[in-house]
């Protein structure tokens, strides 16, 4: 019997950026879009900055996610701006304003985080951290976390299937217990897998005293410089704002 033809899945990387650039992007977006730093001066740069995560998702061929994200972002912003004009008043206005405000601020950050997680491999991430001269004591737990997320999603998926087969779900009679039912097996599975993962990593020499090497080639290219350039603009504006130029 021939070995079956398996799905040849390489990782969808999209535009190749250095992990450090991605982290800078994430920090920039968090500061300006979520934190709202910079006040008046950055008003016009923030929406532009917020479009980049969606653009990056597009290059990684996450077309659906990117379009839904863009539509949501602008939809929310338009509602925020013209809420008054369409005579929304009272509690309704309050609700719309609140939820739109939260969504509009969090969405770009979540998307950027997601892109960072999906497009960066564990070894690229550790290589970047090493180049930034961060201690191994911080790198190892962080890289374990990086590795652990997809596993948790995997487990959660299986548990979700199991719940659907048992008729536990929205509208089912056990609706109130949904969270408990999901958490109990998830915890149990994650503890097991975490243990097995650590055991496997330790038997392959993780945590030694020698300095780890990394075969991963990371470095700055033209696209990184462009991206960094874009990130720098709001920071300059922020500094100008603080110095009251």
């Amino acid at each position: 019997m021939k070995v079956c033809n398996t799905k040849k899945a390489t990782i969808k990387r999209g535009l190749i950026l250095d992990p450090r650039t991605k982290m800078l992007f994430l920090i920039t977006i968090t500061t300006f879009a979520l934190g709202g730093a910079g006040g008046e001066r950055t008003t016009y740069t923030v929406p532009v900055l917020c479009m980049f995560p969606f653009f990056l998702l597009l290059t990684a061929r996450r077309v659906k996610t990117a379009f839904i994200g863009v539509a949501l972002y602008w939809g929310v912003n338009i509602l925020m701006t013209f809420g008054n004009a369409i005579y929304l008043t009272g509690v309704l206005y309050f609700l719309v304003l609140g939820s739109c405000g939260i969504l509009g601020r969090f969405l770009p950050v979540i998307m950027m985080g997601r892109y960072l997680m999906e497009s960066t491999t564990v070894s690229e991430f550790t290589a970047a951290m090493q180049k930034m001269k961060i201690s191994e004591k911080i790198i190892i737990p962080l890289s374990v976390m990086f590795r652990f997320f997809p596993t948790v999603f995997d487990e959660a998926n299986s548990i979700n299937s199991a719940m659907r087969m048992r008729g536990i779900g929205l509208g089912g009679k056990h609706f109130t217990k949904m969270i408990e039912y999901r958490m109990v097996p998830l915890m149990a599975c994650c503890v097991n897998i975490g243990d097995e993962l650590s055991a496997a990593a330790l038997t392959r020499g993780l945590g030694g005293t020698v300095k780890r090497t990394n075969i991963c080639k990371i470095g700055f290219h033209i696209q990184d410089f462009i991206a960094i350039g874009i990130c720098v603009i709001p920071w300059i504006l922020l500094i100008m704002d603080v110095l009251k130029w």
Partner: protein
């Protein structure tokens, strides 16, 4: 090469010692098979060789485990650090899902040498050498999460190979593999053997190791029961093997069931069973007719579409368009979800409640104590009614899952590899459980285990590339 001297060990939180005063000496280049019933202590021995005991799994240990050829500079496992042991001992574990540290295959191959701090060129040349020797060019630069179990296990072996240790310690490496994948694993081990490496394997399935191992050590309750050359071991009769709870050495790899099908009266018809992931056809079946209330085994290589088939059957695939006809009723996705139940390979995914009783009654329309008692009695779970399901043994958890499916009136049950990693007796118990469902429920068993198929199935359907390969019967 490996000297185990009067070693005893008991895990923390356990009153009983899992290994009692065991001594074992393994020469350089020797391949040793450790076998015995579940819980006999073979995994503990493997963990002592690779240093996870006492460095990772805590407990009380006495005795010594020494590694290395030269008498003078032998390495005492309990005094050495794990990363030093890692240079000498390579480990492969049972579960292919949880032995990867990276998400892409090339970094995984580099992971061990990177930890040793080897220079980059050296690492790259080691990877090239391993890839060429193990013929795994197709596994390079892949997303590990999208690999089949067989591929993952092959990659696990390869990433140990890049460290080129002298000793290989394998803990039930074939548990989750199809017959085809086991064949490839066997080739890898033969390659190591040829290179003069020392191999220690703990296993339940023995047949594939008869050309690899020179020596067989059988354990029971933490003590060695026999230690004999393979040439003698293969002469043991079946009933002698059973005495030790072992599976056959000359495993019959034939999937033909023992009891033939009686004349079928009712059938279930599956139509339009087609599914694809991003343009890749995982499943492509026009029409399939199976007998109702019988046991149907689904076999085939890793990645042939068996899991996709069972998920579609359960109604778990949202895009799935096929349907099933039972007693003239046509079931689509939603109805299938209501009428089918899958006993997953990792049963921990499907136990939600605080007590066994609550668990089994979860899907019932109205609680009926008499009925619950009857089912618990039938599955030997009566005294565990108030226990937490997670505190039970693997086999008991499986029975809880089956009991809950029966009490929620599911018509069709699917078992996903119910016997992976089980010894002879436990496998037989599962077979018995499945047989007991016959004539009441239609049972699908997705499995790689010919022993199980022969013991419980009436019909065997073999999958290949997402389609059914026609069998003679």
């Amino acid at each position: 090469m490996v000297n185990i001297e009067n070693v005893s060990f008991s895990y923390q939180n356990s009153n009983e010692a899992s290994v009692h005063n065991v001594s074992l000496s393994i020469k350089k280049g020797e391949s040793v098979l450790l076998c015995g019933e579940s819980g006999c202590g073979k995994t503990t021995l493997i963990r002592m060789i690779n240093g996870l005991i006492p460095h990772f799994y805590e407990g009380e240990m006495s005795g010594k485990v020494l590694l290395g050829e030269d008498e003078k500079c032998q390495m005492d496992v309990s005094d050495s650090e794990l990363y030093d042991i890692a240079r000498n001992v390579g480990s492969v574990f049972q579960n292919p899902r949880s032995q990867f540290f990276c998400v892409d295959s090339t970094s995984e191959l580099a992971f061990g040498p990177e930890n040793m701090g080897l220079p980059e060129e050296e690492i790259l040349s080691r990877i090239d050498k391993t890839v060429a020797e193990m013929k795994i060019e197709d596994l390079v630069d892949r997303d590990i999460f999208a690999m089949s179990g067989g591929e993952k296990q092959k990659l696990a072996c390869a990433s140990v190979d890049t460290l080129s240790p002298e000793i290989f310690a394998l803990d039930e490496p074939s548990s989750n593999l199809s017959l085809e994948a086991i064949e490839e694993l066997k080739n890898t081990l033969l390659k190591w053997k040829k290179a003069g490496k020392t191999i220690v394997v703990a296993e339940h399935r023995l047949y594939w190791l008869k050309d690899i191992c020179d020596r067989v050590v059988c354990l029971k309750d933490g003590r060695i029961t026999f230690d004999m050359p393979m040439a003698e071991f293969i002469k043991l009769q079946e009933d002698e093997l059973r005495k030790y709870g072992l599976r056959s050495v000359k495993e019959n790899l034939d999937f033909t069931p023992v009891d033939d099908m009686e004349n079928i009266e009712e059938t279930i018809v599956l139509e339009n069973y087609k599914y694809n992931y991003d343009g890749y056809d995982a499943l492509d079946i026009d029409r399939l007719e199976v007998p109702k209330n019988e046991v149907i085994a689904i076999v085939g290589p890793n990645g042939a579409g068996k899991s996709t088939f069972s998920k579609c059957l359960c109604g778990l695939m949202k895009k799935f368009k096929g349907y099933m006809t039972v007693d003239g009723h046509r079931y689509k996705n939603r109805d299938m979800l209501k009428n089918t139940y899958m006993v997953m390979q990792d049963v921990n995914h499907q136990l939600f409640c605080e007590t066994v009783r609550e668990e089994v009654s979860l899907g019932m329309d109205e609680e009926d104590d008499a009925k619950i008692d009857e089912i618990l009695e039938k599955f030997g779970l009566k005294e565990y009614g108030e226990r937490h399901p997670m505190s039970l043994s693997g086999g008991q958890k499986q029975r809880v899952a089956v009991a809950s499916a029966i009490l929620s009136n599911k018509e069709i049950l699917i078992f996903d590899e119910p016997t992976s990693g089980l010894d002879f007796y436990n496998m037989e118990r599962v077979a018995e459980l499945i047989r007991s469902l016959k004539n009441e429920k239609t049972v699908f068993v997705v499995t790689h285990d010919p022993d199980l198929v022969r013991r419980c199935a009436n019909v065997v359907i073999c999958f290949e590339n997402g389609a059914v390969r026609r069998e003679e019967n």
